[in-house]
């Protein structure tokens, strides 16, 4: 694969970087990523990844654009209200960069379809708005040994963890697996969310994917990033593998056999 003159110019500001160059750019162009959720987190992640020239993005969302989404979900515009988020995203990303091929999947991620959705992905970006989906993505990715990053954002706060199953890093379930009664209905609609916070966390998710693909820098593994935009606090807290974790511990279960909990009610 040779870069065209247009591609050299389009990606010049990252080809210039010591760690990327032409070889790194070609690696990005051969990569396939899946983005689950095209809201506040998935929008900036998809945007930066398409802009960076990722070869293929699989975009997964079952929802439709609503007026109240536009305050933070930057892929969607006023004229997209009532449009499928996948279609709205596809239109923007095609307009941004046709080098990036887009596959859209209009499905709610479930235990029955997640394997098919994330299979053959080099990396998965989790950007859903609910705990149950995050845990399902964690379990399926760990089980199928697909690296991924999970972020969450609410009010002025955000958190993020990257997991590399091959390297046996701490998984999301190791950290939150003991929470049994998390009420998803208290997600962003009622709690509120400042638009910037998923913007920052989704951007960091994209950066994690790029670093993983290029094997450069440090990933946010075995520690969680916590961001508080009200108090301007950016901190990392070490998180440790749980040897009894039912998905990454010493006696792991098949992810399809794990009892699911948490509300199925999606946040609007």
């Amino acid at each position: 694969m040779e870069l065209s003159e247009k591609q050299i110019e389009r990606y010049s500001r990252q080809i210039v970087l010591k760690e990327i160059g032409g070889m790194g750019q070609k690696k990005l162009m051969k990569s396939t990523l899946t983005i689950i959720g095209l809201g506040g987190l998935g929008s900036p992640a998809a945007y930066y990844l398409a802009a960076a020239g990722i070869g293929k993005l699989k975009l997964v969302d079952f929802d439709y654009v609503e007026l109240s989404n536009l305050q933070r979900q930057i892929l969607h515009f006023s004229e997209d209200i009532n449009k499928r988020k996948t279609i709205s995203a596809l239109e923007k990303l095609n307009s941004l960069n046709l080098d990036c091929s887009i596959e859209i999947i209009n499905k709610k991620v479930s235990i029955d379809n997640i394997r098919e959705i994330i299979q053959n992905s080099d990396f998965v970006i989790e950007g859903s708005d609910n705990f149950a989906t995050k845990m399902l993505v964690n379990d399926a990715c760990v089980y199928l040994k697909i690296p991924f990053t999970i972020a969450g954002a609410i009010r002025y706060h955000g958190q993020l963890l990257t997991v590399v199953p091959e390297k046996r890093t701490t998984c999301y379930r190791c950290v939150f697996g003991t929470i049994k009664n998390l009420d998803d209905r208290m997600s962003c609609s009622q709690a509120g969310v400042i638009g910037v916070i998923p913007g920052i966390l989704g951007s960091i998710e994209a950066n994690e994917a790029i670093k993983y693909l290029l094997e450069i820098g440090d990933l946010i593994t075995n520690k969680m990033l916590f961001v508080d935009l009200l108090k301007n606090n950016f901190s990392f807290i070490n998180v440790y593998r749980e040897i009894n974790c039912i998905i990454c511990g010493e006696n792991p279960k098949d992810f399809t056999e794990i009892k699911r909990y948490g509300s199925d009610i999606a946040c609007h």
């Binding site: 870069l3 050299i8 010049s12 080809i15 210039v16 010591k18 160059g21 032409g22």
Partner: protein, 88 residues
């Protein structure tokens, strides 16, 4: 292989004419060409954008890509510079 011996054999020197290009494309194109070379091979780059004559070698040095062997100003009706790099 020494530079002078190599330079005598024009076909063995990789050439890149970046006259008309400005920064950062001068460095981007130089970098992409250097990436294709093996250690010890030479690249001749022609530049007519004056800041690039300093910036391109400086960035090649910082990124440990190549060392500058020679910079020759060429005075013609439109002057330019001929830079010879050796891939690290």
């Amino acid at each position: 292989m020494s530079l002078e011996k190599n330079i005598q054999n024009e076909k063995e020197v990789n050439k890149l004419d970046l006259r008309g290009k400005v920064c950062p494309m001068t460095f981007v194109n130089t970098k992409l060409s250097l990436e294709k070379l093996k250690s010890g091979e030479f690249l001749e780059v022609l530049l007519d954008f004056p800041p690039a004559v300093e910036n391109v070698p400086e960035n090649c040095r910082r990124q440990n890509l190549a060392k500058v062997v020679r910079i020759t100003p060429i005075k013609q009706n439109k002057s330019y510079w001929e830079l010879i790099f050796e891939k690290i």
